[in-house]
C-alpha cells in the first residue's frame, strides 16, 4: 500500500473535517434559527455537492482557482504560487465538496433541540450565544460527531474533484483513491486491492461510529 498517499489523504480529510466544523456550525445555526423568505435557495446551494457530479464541481473549482481567474491571481500574489495542483487547492475543493455532509447533520441536530429549553434559558437571562453554547451544542453532540465523521469519510473517498484539480503529484496531491485508480490502470491489482481493503475497513468503522452515536440505547431493534 502507498503509505505516503494514505497519510496525505488522512491529513487532508482531518483538516477538511476540522474546517467544516468551524464553518459548518455557524452556517447550520443560521439555517436553523433565521427566518428569511429565500432561505431555501441557500439550503439548495449548500446541498448541491450531493447531486452535482464531482467533475463539474472540480471544473468550476479549477476555473475559479486557476491562474487566469481573479481569485487564483490574488492567491498567487499572496503566496507566490498558484492554488491549482497544490495541497491547499485540494483543501478548498474538498471543503466545498463535503460541505453538505457537515452542515446538514449539524442543522438537523440543532432543530431537534426543544424550543422550550431555549425559551427557559432566555428567560433566565442568558444571551442567544450563551444559550447556543450551553444548551444547543451539548444537546447536538450526536449530530456534531455525525457531521464531523461524515465529512472526514466523504473527503477520504473523494476522486473526481481531486482528479480535476490535483495533478497527481506524489506527496502533495496524490490521494489514496487516485493511487488506487492508478494501480488498477497499471494492472497492479494486488496493490490496488490492499489499499481498497483499508479504505473499505475505514469506511465501515466510520459509519459504525455514525450509527453508534445516533443509536437510542433503549431501542430493542433496528426498527426502534
Amino acid at each position: 500500500m502507498n503509505l505516503e498517499a494514505f497519510w496525505l489523504t488522512v491529513r487532508l480529510a482531518m483538516i477538511v473535517a476540522v474546517l467544516l466544523m468551524a464553518f459548518g456550525i455557524p452556517i447550520a445555526y443560521w439555517i436553523t434559527y433565521y427566518r428569511w423568505r429565500w432561505k431555501f435557495l441557500v439550503e439548495a446551494v449548500i446541498a448541491l455537492p450531493i447531486v452535482l457530479p464531482p467533475t463539474v464541481l472540480g471544473l468550476y473549482v479549477l476555473m475559479a482557482l486557476g491562474t487566469r481567474s481573479p481569485i487564483g491571481r490574488y492567491w498567487e500574489s499572496l503566496t507566490g504560487h498558484p492554488l491549482a495542483f497544490t495541497f491547499e487547492g485540494l483543501i478548498v475543493g474538498s471543503v466545498l465538496y463535503s460541505l453538505p455532509f457537515a452542515v446538514q447533520p449539524f442543522a438537523a441536530a440543532f432543530s431537534t433541540v426543544d424550543p422550550k429549553l431555549l425559551r427557559a434559558s432566555a428567560s433566565l437571562g442568558q444571551s442567544p450565544t450563551q444559550t447556543f453554547r450551553r444548551i444547543v451544542l451539548p444537546l447536538s453532540k450526536a449530530g456534531l460527531v455525525t457531521g464531523f465523521v461524515l465529512s472526514f469519510a466523504h473527503t477520504l473517498g473523494e476522486f473526481g474533484v481531486v482528479l480535476m484539480i490535483g495533478g497527481n503529484i506524489p506527496g502533495v496531491t496524490r490521494t489514496i483513491s487516485i493511487d488506487i485508480y492508478d494501480q488498477v490502470q497499471a494492472g497492479n491489482y494486488s496493490s490496488a486491492n490492499q489499499t481498497a481493503l483499508v479504505l473499505l475497513i475505514i469506511s465501515f468503522l466510520v459509519l459504525s461510529v455514525v450509527y453508534g452515536v445516533n443509536r437510542r440505547v433503549w431501542a430493542v431493534g433496528p426498527w426502534k
Binding site: T67, P82, D182, Q185
Partner: protein
C-alpha cells in the same frame, strides 16, 4: 400497444448497436480520429463509436471485458500484452503512426520555447509542467525519458503535474494552470490549441520511439466491419488525415 412499440424499439436498438464499431483509442488520437471517423461514416454509412483514455487504462478495461472491437494504442507494448493474453488477433496488429512529443507553452507565458528548447522549463515563470501519467500513459513515459535524456529531470521533477492521460495534460497547460507541458504533437496542431501557444518538437532520439499500433480484439463480433474501418485508416485518406495532425508513418521529421 405501448408494450409492442417499446419491444420494437428495443429490437431496433439492439440491431443498431450490433452494427456499430466501438473503438478504444489512445488519448493522443482525440483530435484526429473523430475527423477520420466522420469521413468514414459519410462514405460507408458505418457508425463508429470512440472511447478515449490512456493506453494503459484502455488495456485494463479490455482485460476486464470491455466490449471494444479495435484498440488504437499509443505504443506497441499494450497491444502485445493483449495478444499474449489471447485477447487480440496477432495478424491484425499494425503500426498506424509514430507519435511525436512536443514541449508546449501557452501564449501568456513569455518564453521563446522554439529558441530555448527544453531549457524553457528551467525558467522561474514555469511553476508547473504537465505530463501524462507515466504509470499507464505511453506519452507520460516518453516525457519522463526525454526529460532524463535531456538532463533536466532532477531540476524540474518537483514541478511535474500528471494528467490522467495526454489529453488531460494538454488541458492542464491549455487552461494556463500549468505553464508548460510535454504533450502530443497532435494536440499542439489541433484547432483548439493551435493559436493559443508555441511548441518545440522534442528530438526523436531523446525518448523511445512512440510506435503506435492498432489491433483487432478477439472478442469483437464485428470482425469484418472492423477490418474494413482499419483499411480506411491505413488507406490514403486516413494516412493524410493522420499526417495533418502530426503523425508520421516512420520516425522521420514531420
Amino acid at each position: 400497444m405501448f408494450l409492442r412499440i417499446s419491444l420494437v424499439a428495443l429490437l431496433l436498438s439492439i440491431c443498431a448497436s450490433a452494427q456499430e464499431i466501438t473503438v478504444a483509442a489512445a488519448a493522443d488520437l482525440s483530435t484526429a480520429l473523430p475527423e477520420i471517423v466522420a469521413n468514414y461514416t459519410k462514405q460507408s454509412g458505418q457508425t463508429v463509436k470512440l472511447s478515449f483514455g490512456s493506453s494503459g487504462n484502455l488495456t485494463t478495461q479490455i482485460e476486464n471485458g470491455a466490449p471494444f472491437d479495435v484498440f488504437f494504442s499509443a505504443d506497441e507494448s499494450y497491444p502485445a500484452q493483449l495478444i499474449e493474453k489471447g485477447l487480440a488477433d496477432k495478424e491484425s496488429l499494425y503500426r498506424y503512426a509514430v507519435g511525436r512529443l512536443v514541449l508546449w507553452v501557452p501564449n501568456d507565458v513569455q518564453l521563446d520555447v522554439q529558441k530555448l528548447g527544453v531549457k524553457a522549463l528551467l525558467d522561474p515563470a514555469v511553476k508547473k509542467i504537465a505530463i501524462a501519467n507515466p504509470l499507464h500513459a505511453p506519452y507520460g513515459r516518453a516525457a519522463e525519458a526525454a526529460l532524463k535524456h535531456l538532463g533536466v529531470y532532477d531540476q524540474i521533477s518537483a514541478k511535474l503535474v500528471l494528467g490522467e492521460n495526454i489529453s488531460q495534460a494538454a488541458q492542464f497547460v491549455e487552461s494556463g494552470n500549468a505553464q508548460a507541458g510535454l504533450i502530443a504533437l497532435s494536440h499542439a496542431l489541433s484547432p483548439s490549441l493551435k493559436d493559443k501557444g508555441h511548441y518545440w518538437t522534442v528530438p526523436l532520439d531523446a525518448y523511445p520511439t512512440l510506435n503506435q499500433a492498432a489491433v483487432v480484439l478477439s472478442k469483437s463480433k464485428q470482425q469484418a466491419a472492423t477490418r474494413k474501418f482499419l483499411d480506411f485508416v491505413r488507406g490514403p485518406e486516413g494516412t493524410s488525415l493522420l499526417k495533418s495532425y502530426g503523425f508520421s508513418l516512420s520516425a522521420e521529421k514531420p
